[in-house]
């Protein structure tokens, strides 16, 4: 089917004759996963409104897991449908149903499945009841799916808003930590501003091309040569700024570390995976399929943004002392790699970007699942010292985290290596050799902090070192890589100044010792552990354990046997190229 034919099919439904309204045909299969996610969230909320008590975590998790599983099955059915009958435009031209959109839907629904498992353990550990967190996750994921399937700039915007508004609320979900509310406020204000910029971009593009429909924009640009395209380029720049905020590309990355650090850890993991997938999906589709003819205009801009994102993400992550901030900068670095595929602006580049997103989503979710466990009750134990000799205390946990970190560093036999290789290859094929070089340099720089954390977990001296020396020693091992001794000095000064010693167990002990119901027991527990090991005893509940195993499995299995996933990504092509 040619694009023009699809267009006429999409437009014919909107023809109105003599006052009667011919409603568009709705192919429900094309929007089934989205409907399942929304329906699941609404059913959860309705159920919790009908029962007398606040819904417990097990019930809400069962609902959310069923919805995510059903959506995953539906998206696999969609994949079969696309493979068998080819891509099409559905629901009056609002939705594109192609390999690309179905790939994004599969990725989002499986990542949401994992994120719900992680959030279940967090809800149980923190004693938070109610279905809201997981309902909002489902809806947010629905927004990401809509962004992947959007065939109209208005749909992109609506998907972006659904994704973002749910994420703002999720970031503020931890009522006990002011940092959570602060993160949400920063995210909200900057996000609302970037949404406004994005809408302005849509308006300018509409003004220049007369349509917001993505294939129609491509059609208009292929049939008209614009002599003065300032309006269109202005609109493109504003659209790019809006997208770059969502994917946290430099210079629109400012919110990322604070929000990643302040948000509850399962939400951070969800956000790092889903928001990036949604943002990149729409960015790739809009720029490659609609504005592909203008690639000479936007490729240099992407070049600069990608280079800045790669270098800043990797270098600033080196000096972080908080693991969530470090992973935030690492996610910025990954965004730079995905941008390589966009900068190539080839169908190969798009597939490689998708493959990178798939690999990244599971590595990020797995990392934040481990961080969520190490964060202990109160979700506050996120300094790098907390990971010191984790391998001795919790070898399995440390082994899983090592897999995720090595994968993110791009060590062979992980998906991360193949993903980095694929996008760099795509960049070289598109003659962006310098950018590929910058990407490889940034990968080397990034390897320092990933491997530094691995070393901290496995090779650091035993935990019975002197109290004041412990954090300083731990920091010094990282500081050797960072060549920045100021953090180590500050930490050791703080440790010396405190009367008893500022072990992580103290932090979580007093955080849990709030006048809440469980205050007395957990306070005693924390007190006893702080005498013995300094670190809180970590428990790995079933849910988050399964999540970590799934993510590690994806990272290793598809790293060793890459062919199925690579083929999968290479079949996920855009409707119009």
């Amino acid at each position: 089917m040619s694009p023009a034919h699809l267009l006429t099919a999409a437009l014919s439904v909107s023809a109105v004759r003599g006052g009667t309204l011919s409603l568009p045909h709705i192919d429900y299969l094309t929007i089934l996963p989205e409907l399942i996610f929304l329906g699941g969230a609404l059913v959860m909320l309705l159920h919790s409104a009908l029962i007398r008590r606040t819904m417990d975590a097990a019930t809400s998790t069962s609902w959310a897991l069923s919805a995510a599983t059903a959506a995953l099955v539906a998206s696999l059915v969609q994949w079969y449908e696309v493979s068998a009958h080819g891509p099409k435009v559905a629901v009056a031209g609002a939705v594109a149903f192609d390999g690309f959109s179905v790939f994004v839907t599969i990725l989002v629904s499986s990542a949401t499945l994992v994120a719900i498992l992680i959030s279940h353990s967090w809800l149980e550990r923190e004693g938070v009841r109610g279905p809201e967190m997981q309902a909002l996750m489902l809806v947010s994921a629905m927004g990401a799916m809509l962004m992947g399937a959007a065939n109209d700039l208005i749909m992109v915007f609506l998907g972006l808003e659904i994704l973002s508004i749910a994420l703002y609320v999720l970031a503020a979900f931890d009522h006990r930590r002011p940092a959570s509310g602060e993160a949400a406020l920063k995210y909200f204000i900057l996000g609302a501003f970037s949404s406004a910029v994005f809408v302005y971009g849509i308006a300018l593009v509409y003004g220049a091309t007369g349509t917001t429909n993505l294939p129609q924009i491509a059609d208009f640009l292929s049939r008209n040569l614009l002599l003065h395209n300032g309006l269109l380029l202005g609109g493109l720049a504003l659209l790019l700024a809006g997208f770059c905020f969502k994917i946290a590309a430099v210079p629109f990355h400012m919110w990322t570390p604070d929000v990643y650090q302040g948000a509850p850890t399962p939400v951070t993991g969800f956000m790092s995976a889903i928001a990036k997938v949604g943002g990149f999906a729409a960015l790739l589709r809009v720029f490659v399929s609609s504005f592909g003819l203008l690639r000479a205009d936007w490729q240099p801009a992407i070049w600069v943004i990608a280079a800045l994102t790669l270098l800043l993400g990797a270098s600033v992550a080196l000096v972080q002392r908080d693991v969530k901030r470090m992973l935030a900068y690492s996610s910025i670095n990954h965004a730079g790699f995905v941008l390589l595929g966009l900068q190539a602006a080839t169908s190969r580049g798009v597939s490689d970007s998708l493959y990178y997103l798939f690999a990244y989503a599971f590595m990020a979710l797995g990392s934040f699942a481990v961080v969520s466990i190490v964060g202990a009750k109160g979700d506050g134990n996120h300094r790098l010292d907390a990971y010191r000799s984790l391998g001795r205390r919790h070898p399995w946990l440390a082994a899983a985290f090592t897999v995720f970190l090595l994968g993110q560093a791009g060590i062979p036999f992980t998906t991360g290596f193949l993903a980095k290789l694929a996008v760099v290859e795509a960049a070289v094929e598109a003659h962006s050799v310098w950018l590929a070089g910058i990407a490889m340099v940034s990968a080397v720089v990034a390897a320092f902090f990933y491997l530094g954390l691995v070393r901290l977990m496995w090779a650091a001296p035993a935990a019975d070192a002197p109290v004041a020396g412990a954090p300083a020693g731990a920091m010094a091992s990282v500081g050797a890589a960072t060549a920045s001794m100021q953090p180590a000095e500050r930490v050791s000064a703080g440790a010396l100044a405190s009367p008893v010693g500022t072990a992580a167990g103290q932090v979580s002990g007093s955080a849990a010792g709030s006048p809440a119901g469980a205050g007395s027991t957990s306070g005693e527990e924390a007190g006893s552990t702080s005498e013995e090991t300094e670190e809180p005893a970590l428990s790995t509940p079933l849910g988050v354990g399964i999540a970590i195993a799934l993510c590690a499995g994806v990272t290793v299995v598809f790293g060793v046997i890459p062919a199925p996933l690579l083929d999968f990504a290479h079949q996920a092509t855009l409707l119009i190229r």
Binding site: I31, E132, A166, V169, R176
Partner: protein
């Protein structure tokens, strides 16, 4: 403005324009000069009504209705809620500049923006609109309200339905944010927000304002006695957002 446009404007049109433009301008000036916030909000309603009349004048009936329903109806009422909530009698001192250099900067930006408008108007040829959509709406039966209604139920059916989902989620989110579980106490300990250099307002609760500035958690609470927070910047200091509390324990 060229002559043939002027010729097409009837006396009634011109009169309507003049009256509504006067209303708009009077309202806008009223918003700025009125000392009372409620009066300013009501003046804003007047401006918005005037703009709605201008929209009707331009045959944009839908925009006029939305202007009245959404802006004058919902948004200004929201403003009034906030004003009433904060206290109607509170007077803002207009003389004090919250940000230094704000007013000269605002003036420069206004001049720049206005210059940009003039340049855009003069150099209109670089904005190449493809095909006008105004003609489509005018040619259809029932005017642009009916055309928009048709578009919402045909071409934009899915975006329209998805908007409903967006609104539902906004409501759920607002409820989640507004509801505070009563059993959750203010935080007693907080791993500081490292690297965040944005000043945060003190929470105002007795237990919520302890926060160490040196980036190291614990410490002050380890010996069991609550340390006295030392406030940097007196509580009467009127600077917004500049009030940070620092606990010193060494």
């Amino acid at each position: 403005m060229s002559a043939h446009i002027l010729a097409a404007v009837s006396t009634v049109d011109a009169l309507t324009f003049a009256v509504s433009a006067l209303i708009v301008l009077a309202g806008a000036v009223g918003v700025v000069v009125s000392r009372h916030p409620v009066h300013a909000a009501l003046m804003l309603v007047m401006t918005l009504f005037g703009v709605a009349v201008l929209f009707v004048e331009q045959r944009a009936e839908f925009l006029a209705a939305v202007q009245v329903i959404v802006y004058a109806g919902a948004i200004v009422v929201l403003f009034l809620f906030v004003i009433m909530f904060l206290g109607v009698d509170r007077r803002e001192s207009v003389a004090a500049e919250p940000l230094r250099g704000q007013r000269p900067l605002a003036l420069v930006l206004v001049v720049l923006g206005f210059a940009g408008l003039v340049v855009l108007g003069a150099e209109a040829h670089w904005s190449v609109g493809a095909h006008s959509v105004a003609g489509v709406a005018r040619g259809q039966a029932g005017g642009n309200v009916a055309a928009l209604g048709r578009a919402v139920f045909t071409t934009y059916l899915f975006p329209f339905e998805v908007t409903a989902a967006l609104l539902v989620i906004a409501v759920v989110g607002a409820v989640v944010l507004a509801r505070r579980p009563p059993r959750i106490a203010p935080p007693t300990e907080e791993v500081p927000f490292e690297g965040a250099d944005v000043a945060r307002p003190a929470s105002g609760e007795p237990g919520g304002s302890e926060r160490r500035a040196d980036g190291e958690p614990g410490g002050g609470r380890a010996d069991g006695e609550p340390a006295e927070p030392v406030r940097v910047g007196s509580p009467s200091d009127p600077r917004p957002g500049g009030e940070t509390s620092v606990e010193v324990s060494r």
